[in-house]
Symmetry: C2
Subunit: 117 residues, 2 copies
Amino acid sequence: MRAVESAQEAVACCAPLAAATLSDDEAEATAAVFRALGDPARVRIVNVLVTSADPVCVCHLIEPLGLSQPTVSHHMKKLLDAGLVEREQRGKWAYYSIHPAAADKLTAVTDLRGACC
Amino acid sequence: MRAVESAQEAVACCAPLAAATLSDDEAEATAAVFRALGDPARVRIVNVLVTSADPVCVCHLIEPLGLSQPTVSHHMKKLLDAGLVEREQRGKWAYYSIHPAAADKLTAVTDLRGACC
């Protein structure tokens, strides 16, 4: 539940780069979305999730990324807080998938033409 | 000249989040584009440039952003290196505008549907 809540919060408060007005809070929220993807390991994780048909167990991300479990969990938390991924607990392991609103959110924040919002 | 060269280099080497394969260099280059926008001051600067019809003097960014000139110049260098802005020297001052390829680059790297490249 927490994951979904934080995702919705992030969706609500960020603004496109072409917004007519941009408050300090909106600038920070928009920067936070970009910051979440400003790390090569998180780009790789999103790439794995985007190209997977099913939710991916965190246990299956450790080896391909060559990172420890705590490091992968740290990256997943950043992506979760930015509202880009969803988390589902299945017994011992967490499974992740791209948040259904992530594509629209990225399209919105990167809008340079003022066409979207 | 240097600005244009670094922009072209960045365009050439980053990859969309939905890329079928993603090398370490591509993941880093893609993360670098996001990192350049992962700061509220740089989100504000891009917002000012996007919503301006003409190139903007760096001297006109200092007061609205409430930052010192060296800090603004630091942010401009990050945006320049990421290929998101263009720089033109006019006498004493540098003028900045959004790089013509920036919108396409942002659309490309944030593509989660694999439709673009």
